[in-house]
């Protein structure tokens, strides 16, 4: 009798379409959720709404025009994309980038990391209900955008690099402003920590949510803070140092439990490490040329290479094939960290509640411009 009574109460699965137009999917991401009551039974992620065919487009652009396209992939961390692309081409053409340019590149990458993490913290906390952190995080991000505007004239799509080095030297007094920003940012991070880290409700909404073990994380291809949150020490800045990271002293924060709270702590600690790197980079800024020996018309020799750097979202890799004759790359491929991190979403949200889905999308820190390319 009990089983028959059980059928009587079996509620039908509710299929809910979350996105592509939804306040907390950080862009045009569509998640089809099959709910049993509140619990997510299964889900599948549908992307492609923002596919602009950047890879196909760049096969018809010459090498310097592509820097613009890399800005528009992960529009929240454009400088890192630029640095990644230019370094891949420099590796193809075997150009030696002067030390001063490498130092400025390191500083810009870390500034970009702080800006991207500010946006992540603001939207992640807003999704879980704490509206105030959003405004605080964006106040700091504003300072960074001003620094970038002063350096390369734009606030979002910087076009901040050239193959072989920097487009122009840093403006006078820019480094003092960066150091001043670092001191402000240091105490602001403590302010975020005060608001959220020991907040009972925040703990309850993030501890033990979306747990992924180290093996699962590596297998599914997570990278960056989501991977380090599960305890895997993989950071391209340490494993394959590029720009001037080999001369910088910093440590890589590692989580233990692999849940949303650990990913939050890892990123919060990365704020502080980035400030540390920026200080070393700006204080130790060497004099010297800002561009290496670059031929007027860039034509890398025939060959292909894959070069990965550490973007705020994870490992961004460029696989570029040049045929040595034409001024366009023959094949331009980007390994987007958000695309690979998003792949873990169905596995993470299985068995969680609807409210956790929102927290987990924020915890993976996904930017749809990079996912859809």
């Amino acid at each position: 009798m009990a089983t028959e009574a059980r059928q009587m109460f079996d509620t039908e699965e509710l299929v809910i379409n979350m996105g592509p137009q939804h306040p907390s999917t950080h862009g045009v991401l569509r998640v089809v959720l099959r709910l049993d009551g509140e619990k997510v039974v299964s889900s599948d992620v549908i992307i492609g709404y923002l596919h602009r065919g950047i890879e196909k487009l760049s096969e018809n652009r010459n090498w310097t025009q592509i820097i613009l396209l890399t800005d528009r992939m992960d529009y929240v961390a454009a400088a890192t994309n630029n640095v990644g692309y230019c370094q891949t081409v420099e590796k193809l053409m075997q150009i030696e980038v002067p030390r001063r340019a490498r130092y400025v590149r390191t500083a810009l990458c870390e500034l970009q990391r702080i800006a991207s993490h500010c946006l992540w913290l603001g939207t992640h906390a807003m999704d879980i209900g704490a509206m105030t952190v959003f405004l605080y995080a964006f106040r700091e991000r504003e300072l960074i955008l001003d620094l970038f505007e002063e350096y390369c004239g734009a606030r979002l799509t910087y076009n901040s690099m050239r193959i072989g080095g920097l487009p122009l030297d840093i403006p006078v007094g820019w480094d003092k402003k960066v150091l001043e920003f670092c001191s402000i940012m240091a105490e602001k991070v403590d302010e975020y920590e005060e608001l959220l880290t020991h907040n009972r409700i925040w703990l309850e909404r993030t501890k033990g949510i979306g747990v992924i073990t180290a093996e699962q994380a590596i297998a599914i291809g997570l990278s960056g803070p989501p991977l380090r949150g599960s305890g895997v020490t993989k950071d391209a800045r340490k494993d394959e140092p590029y720009a001037a990271y080999d001369e910088m002293k910093f440590d890589v924060p590692i989580g233990t439990a692999g849940d949303t709270y650990d990913r939050y702590l890892v990123r919060l600690e990365e704020f502080r490490q980035s400030i540390r790197i920026i200080r070393q980079a700006i204080e130790g800024l060497p004099e010297g040329p800002i561009v290496g020996k670059v031929p007027r018309l860039i034509k890398p020799p025939a060959g292909e290479t894959y070069h990965a750097i550490e973007s705020p979202k994870g490992e961004i890799g460029y696989f570029i094939v040049s045929d040595g004759k034409s001024t366009n790359p023959y094949r331009f491929r980007v390994r987007p960290p958000s695309f690979c991190n998003l792949q873990a979403l169905p596995q993470l949200i299985k068995g969680h509640m609807l409210a956790d889905v929102v927290a987990l999308i924020g915890s993976l820190d996904v930017v749809l411009g990079e996912v859809d390319r």
Binding site: I218, G221, D239, K325
Partner: protein, 250 residues
């Protein structure tokens, strides 16, 4: 370097340029000799047969016949993982190449799964992180696609690239069993290149709309999109468009 049997109609210059490449030292040389005739689009190419052979705008030199896989310089010591793989899985490694610090192995499609499993389990290799799966299209070559697997080891911190050559409809086994990360990446390769990947849990389009015709990232796919020309015949396209409008209305 085993020579694959060439189709007779292939442009005559193929073996010549192949021979030229390996002889040259690692320093790059212009691969395609000037005499190459513009590669007429192959009959197999999806482009509408009726389309007149669109001669690429004439100043562009003929597309290269294949990726340059320079053999390792004499002095370079082949890394332990590759030698271990050659020993463990005979015939798995067709060609090893080294270029500006990256090791690449060309693996036949039949041996791909075995090689992949070995590279993941072997202590000398321990490639547990499949960072990227992508493809590149060389229309003038018989086995037109190069499916590229970029592997990384989180423990030993070294990288290697596997390459599998596949013709248009030639099956390439899916490695999502070995590295689940490859699931979406392979779906993208199928979606944008049309490589026939077999044994994939859910091989559907990922970036393009589901009812899209053709594979956009092939070299012979026009940059400005399908337009009426590419459809086998424009009537299908019109019917499709009306059907889609009705779907929106009701």
């Amino acid at each position: 370097m085993t020579e694959e049997p060439k189709e007779p109609t292939a442009a005559g210059d193929k073996p010549a340029s192949e021979a030229a490449a390996p002889a040259a030292p690692a320093a790059p040389t212009p691969a395609a000799p000037a005499a190459a005739t513009p590669a007429a689009p192959k009959a197999a190419a999806p482009a509408a047969a009726a389309k007149p052979p669109a001669a690429p705008h004439d100043n562009k030199p003929a597309p290269p016949s294949g990726p340059t896989d320079p053999p390792p310089p004499a002095g370079a010591q082949i890394p332990a993982c590759i030698t271990a793989l050659q020993a463990a899985v005979p015939g798995a490694v067709e060609h090893v190449s080294f270029y500006i610090g990256d090791w690449t192995m060309i693996v036949p499609a039949t041996k791909l799964l075995e090689a992949g499993r070995f590279l993941r389990e072997a202590p000398a290799a321990a490639f547990d992180f499949c960072s990227d799966v992508t493809a590149s299209d060389w229309p003038s070559r018989a086995q037109r696609f190069d499916v590229i697997y970029c592997l990384y080891s989180t423990r030993l911190r070294h990288r290697v690239r596997l390459k599998v050559r596949a013709a248009e409809a030639e099956p390439v086994p899916s490695v999502s069993g070995i590295w689940p990360a490859a699931n979406w990446l392979e779906r993208e390769v199928y979606d944008l290149f049309g490589v026939n990947i077999t044994g994939h849990p859910n091989l559907t389009r990922i970036l393009m709309p589901d009812d899209w015709q053709g594979h956009p990232q092939r070299k012979d796919y026009p940059l400005e999109g399908p337009g009426e020309l590419l459809m086998e015949n424009p009537l299908d396209w019109l019917k499709l468009k009306q059907a889609r409008e009705e779907a929106e209305i009701e």
